[in-house]
Structures are given as C-alpha cells and as structure tokens.
C-alpha cells in the first residue's frame, strides 16, 4: 500500500487542474492587461512617455486627482472612526439600521450616486437652487467631485474597524476610564493603538478608490479639460481623441498607484497578523 494519504477533495488530478486554471485566468485577465498598459504607454519610448505626462492637461488631471484624494481620505478617516465607535460602543435604537446604512455606497452603482447628487445639488435641484442664490455652484466643479468621492468611499474605514472593535470589546477602554483617563486620552492611548493597522488598511482602500473613482465623478464633473478632469476621466478623454499612447500613459499612472497600494496593503496585512500574535 502506498503511504500517501490525501485529504478529502485533494486528489492530484483535481489539484493540478484547479491550479492550472487559476494560473491561466490570472494571466489572461489580470496580468496581461497590466503588461499591455505599460507596453502601450511606452510605445513611443521613455521620452514620449515623459512628454505625455508633462502635457498641461495631464498634469492638471494628476493635480486634481491628488487634491480630491487629499480632502477625501482625512475626511472619511475621521468619519469612519466616528461611525465605528458609535456602532460598537453605544447602544441606541436604530444602531443596527445605521450599521446597514453604512453599506449603501457599496450597494448603489456609483453612477446612480453621481446622478442623485446632480439632481439634489445641481442648479435645478432644490439644494442647488438655494445655493445658487449665494453664487455657490457645487456641480461641475471640484466641490462636487469631492462630495461624490466622499460618498463612494465612506464605508471603507468603518467596514474595516467595526468587526475588529466588536471583537476587541470595551474592556480595555473601561479599564482606562477606571484608571482616570479622559475621553481623549482613552482614544489616543488605548483605542487608536489597538485599531491602528485596521485603520491604515481602511485608509489605503479609501485612497485607492478615491484616486480611481470614475462613474460618480464623470456624472458631476462635466469633464472640463484643465478644470474638472480627474485622471480616470482624462484616460477616457484621451482615448476618445484617438491619443492611444496618451491614454495608456495616464492609465499607467493609475496602474502604478494600484501597484503601490497593493504593496503597502500586503505590508500592513503582514504587520496586522504579527500584532495579533502578540
């Protein structure tokens, strides 16, 4: 008798087929497109690549995208921590409902979200008309872009924190208060260190989505070149102009951000699992 014993479902044939399938699919749908982006972007050589990046409108799109992320990420970090704290540390009527409502931006198509904001805050919407009297225009300008990006990315931090904070419980916080810690000391010295890796993870995801958001932003921005054009929108504009290399150059920047995000995410996950071992 052979001494080799297999676990249930671990037949050698099935295993080889599944692994092979996973490799082929990953290559075809994930890796190949990434390679294409960079080869197309570099079709005119490095000089052409740099030249495309230094294009006036591309530079502006990069700037606007970073600006939106810079506003969105801190806002949603604070909001997410606040929300997670509220849901896990207090009991009040509607708590479960609130925990469910947090997921609305995940459930709703971003285009629908953009449309809702347009209808509400656009020059014909009721909030928009009122704001219009004071010469405040949110839509087709950067405030609108920030608003929809905040909406689309708001669940990420809270979603990361809620399960962790539920699992950690409030024992340590109670211990801190009994020992005389004020609300701020409690948060700063006990809560924050306990959630820091999950928080960072949420921030990374928020940032990745804020930089890459297309649907909601395209509805409210109006894609005015050099004014309200973000990097993802810029890719589409260049492509429609038949500037294939330019489009892929802009896309390669987004892909680069994605790769950096993945790297940081992996490091954070590794640190997180290590800190849990303690």
């Amino acid at each position: 008798m052979s001494a080799k014993h297999h676990r249930v479902g671990d037949g050698p044939v099935i295993r080889r087929i599944l692994i092979g399938l996973a490799v082929v699919l990953t290559a075809l749908f994930l890796f190949m497109p990434l390679v294409v982006i960079f080869t197309q972007a570099l079709a005119q050589g490095w000089a052409g690549y740099i030249g495309n990046i230094l294009d006036e409108y591309t530079l502006h799109a990069i700037g606007l995208t970073l600006f939106v992320a810079l506003l969105t990420v801190p806002l949603n970090t604070v909001f997410g921590v606040f929300l997670a704290w509220l849901v896990t540390r207090f009991s009040f009527p509607g708590r479960r409902l609130l925990a469910t409502l947090i997921d609305i931006p995940f459930a709703v198509s971003p285009v629908v979200a953009g449309l809702l904001y347009l209808l509400l805050y656009g020059s014909n919407g009721w909030a928009g008309q009122w704001l219009g009297q004071y010469d405040v225009e949110l839509m087709f300008a950067w405030p609108g872009i920030v608003m929809v990006t905040v909406f689309v990315t708001c669940p990420f931090v809270a979603r990361e924190l809620i399960p962790l904070m539920q699992q950690q419980g409030r024992d340590e916080e109670e211990a801190a208060v009994v020992l005389g810690a004020s609300g701020w000391q409690l948060f700063r010295r006990v809560t924050l260190p306990n959630i820091r890796w999950a928080l960072l993870y949420g921030v990374i995801l928020t940032n990745a989505r804020a930089v890459g958001e297309f649907g909601a932003v395209s509805v409210v921005s109006g894609s005015i070149r050099g004014e309200t054009n973000t990097l993802p929108l810029h890719v589409e504009l260049l492509y429609q102009d038949y500037n294939i290399v330019g489009a892929f150059t802009a896309a390669s920047l987004l892909a680069g951000i994605a790769l950096i995000t993945l790297a940081v995410k992996t490091i954070v996950e590794w640190r997180q699992s290590r800190s849990e071992e303690f």
Partner: protein, 367 residues
C-alpha cells in the same frame, strides 16, 4: 472606606438585574458577592465602580454620595474578569497608565512614576517581567499585573470581578492566599464577585448571597454555612442531602424512611436538609432514624471517602452523599449495591409554615 448601597435598582430592557438592593460593606474588609450567573452580582459591582448607572437608589462611600460621580472621579481600583490589560503596552506601561493619565498638576514626576511601578511589580513578585507584553504572560501573571495596575493610584476601594474564574485550580488557590495576605497587609476595602462558594467562604470576611437581583443573605462565612436562612442559600453553599416528607406526631416520614424529630413540631409538610458531614453511615437503623440506602458509588480520591447513596424504598431528588474516613472505609470495605442506613447528628428543618429553618440536634437523645 465604607460602601453603602441604598435602594439600588437596575434594568436592562425587560430584564431587571438589581431589585431594591440595600447593603453595607464595612471598612477594610473583604466582601464576596456570591450567586449563580444572572443573579446581578457583577452588575452590582459595576454599579459600585460607576461603570453602570443604577436607575434608582444611591451609593455612598464613607457617607458621601457618589451616585452622580463619574467612574473617573470615584478613585476605585477595578480588576476585570478577563484582566483587560492594554495589549499594546508592556507590563510596566500597563501599571504606569493610571499615573501617566493624571492631570499634569497632580501627576508624579517621571522618576517617581518609575519608582512606584517598580514597587508595585515587586509587590506582585513580577518585577522580572516589566518589559513583557500581556500576550506573553500566563493567566496567573496577567491577573497579578491587573491587580498591580489597579493598585497604582492607591485606591481605598478595590473591586474584583470573578478574579480567579479563568485560572486553573492550583494557581487559583495560590492567588487566593496571596490576595488574602495582601489585603491583610494593606487594609483596603475589597469587594469581589464569584460564583464559587468555596472561594467566597475561604477568602472573605463577609459573604453577600444574591439571587435573581436580590440580596438573599449577608453573613460571615461560618454563619452562612452553619445557619443558612433559606433553602436556596443552603443548596447553593454546598452538597445537600434532603428528605422531604410530612410530619405527623413528631416524626418526619416519606415511604419507608422516617426520622424522629428531637423537638416538637406542628404537623406539616417539611424538608430536612443535612450536610454530608452531619450524617453517619451504619449497618443498622438507629432508634431515631430509619433511612435505608443502597450504595451507588464510592469515590476514594481526596481527604475522605465519599459515598453516594440511592434511597431504598423512598425517594429524593438527588443522591445522598456522605463522607467517611479512609480508616473507616478500610475497616468496613463497603461495596457498590450494599444496603446501609444513614443516621443524622445535626439537621436543618424547613417547615412550609415557618419562614426560618430550625436547626436540630440528635446528640443528646442518642447519648
């Protein structure tokens, strides 16, 4: 510092955790809150600390009303059931926490804090672990660090929630003795919650037995064990052998079993409760008692041999248990299935028409 609890009520939604609790906890003593789970003992402890706000009633420390005082201001030491050590801080950072978060004006200097932490760690005999993280400690070590942390601000009241619940039997015993000696040395007022009657009886000066949100009895451990006020307390504080039947003409009878009562009693339904050590095992019934049994099981492990008995010709809810010495066991060599009789020395009679139990003794009539 004394603690007075004056008419405390607390509900969680539909569930009433505490009902009209009145209690005085004397200064400098170790008081146990004892009860089954759901009896409200932890809620009461957390109310004293200020971690729960009672719906009604007052809490006074040394005569001063602290009901409206925030947890932070009450200056009590609290040891949590699962220790609640700060997981990202070292042992010495954990112990120093209470001192470090004090307002700058009151806070001791860094050097003073370091000195105090070292002193506390020496007190709990764990100064060699100052740089470790909680996850690197054993349960008993965590418990002692939690205690050192709670003592850092020199509280006059120390509250402990199931302090030894999660520890194995040997460590538990050791820590119990150690806490007792620490308490005798430092004389703070301590209250601890436990569901382990042995722990309550061994460790405390005063035991508060709780049941369904009410205080059932408050007494010294000895008084509680020898003179329980109610069937519940009697049952909760250790093994009980019970004979329930009807009294008629001074004899309590059920089936083939009967006991002649040494004191006159009105005819009524009644239950006779006997502790294992208040009963002797014989080959023949005595003049005053006829309680036939078959031996169900014999357990020779421990200080004495425990014999489990099944009533023969009458009924009881649970098997009886009687302890005999190892020498008596060796002399007689009883075996499973043997017939024998129980003879009571002392018993506690709960008559349905009386609220207080009657303690009975057969010593004189036997002599």
């Amino acid at each position: 510092m004394t603690i007075e609890i004056d008419g405390i009520n607390k509900s969680f939604g539909q569930f009433q955790a505490l009902r009209d609790i009145d209690l005085a906890i004397p200064d400098g003593q170790l008081t146990a809150l004892l009860g089954p789970s759901g009896s409200g003992k932890t809620t009461l402890l957390r109310s004293i600390a200020g971690l729960e706000n009672p719906d009604r009633g007052r809490i006074l420390f040394s005569g001063e009303d602290v009901t409206g005082l925030h947890v932070r201001e009450r200056r009590v030491g609290f040891v949590f059931q699962h220790y609640a050590l700060f997981r990202h801080m070292t042992v010495s950072e954990n112990v120093a926490f209470g001192l470090k978060v004090m307002p700058r004006r009151e806070r001791p200097s860094k050097r003073e804090i370091r000195r105090r932490v070292r002193e506390l760690l020496e007190m709990v005999q764990l100064d060699h672990l100052a740089g470790r993280y909680p996850a690197q400690l054993s349960g008993g070590q965590k418990q002692r660090i939690a205690l050192a942390r709670a003592m850092a601000k020199r509280p006059e009241i120390l509250l402990l929630d199931e302090p030894f619940g999660a520890l194995d039997a040997k460590v538990r015993k050791e820590l119990r003795r150690w806490l007792r000696s620490l308490h005798d040395e430092l004389h703070f007022t301590s209250v601890f919650v436990t569901h382990d009657q042995e722990e309550a009886l061994e460790l405390s000066d005063q035991v508060v037995v709780m049941r369904q949100g009410r205080v059932e009895q408050v007494d010294s451990p000895l008084a509680l064990y020898s003179q329980p006020d109610s069937r519940f307390v009697f049952n909760f504080l250790g093994q009980v052998n019970a004979l329930s039947g009807a009294i008629s003409g001074g004899v309590l009878r059920q089936g083939e079993a009967w006991v002649r009562l040494p004191e006159s009693c009105d005819d009524d339904d009644a239950e006779l409760y006997l502790r294992p050590h208040e009963v002797r095992l014989t080959q023949e019934p005595s003049r005053d008692a006829h309680l036939p049994f078959r031996i169900e099981a014999i357990n020779v492990i421990g200080a004495e041999v425990r014999v489990e008995l099944r009533p023969d010709g009458w009924e009881s809810e649970e098997l009886w248990e009687v302890g005999i010495t190892h020498s008596a066991f060796n002399a007689r060599q009883p075996r499973r299935g043997d017939r024998c009789y129980a003879v009571p020395d002392v018993g506690h009679l709960f008559c349905d028409h009386l609220s207080e139990p009657k303690t009975l003794s057969w010593y004189e009539s036997a002599g």
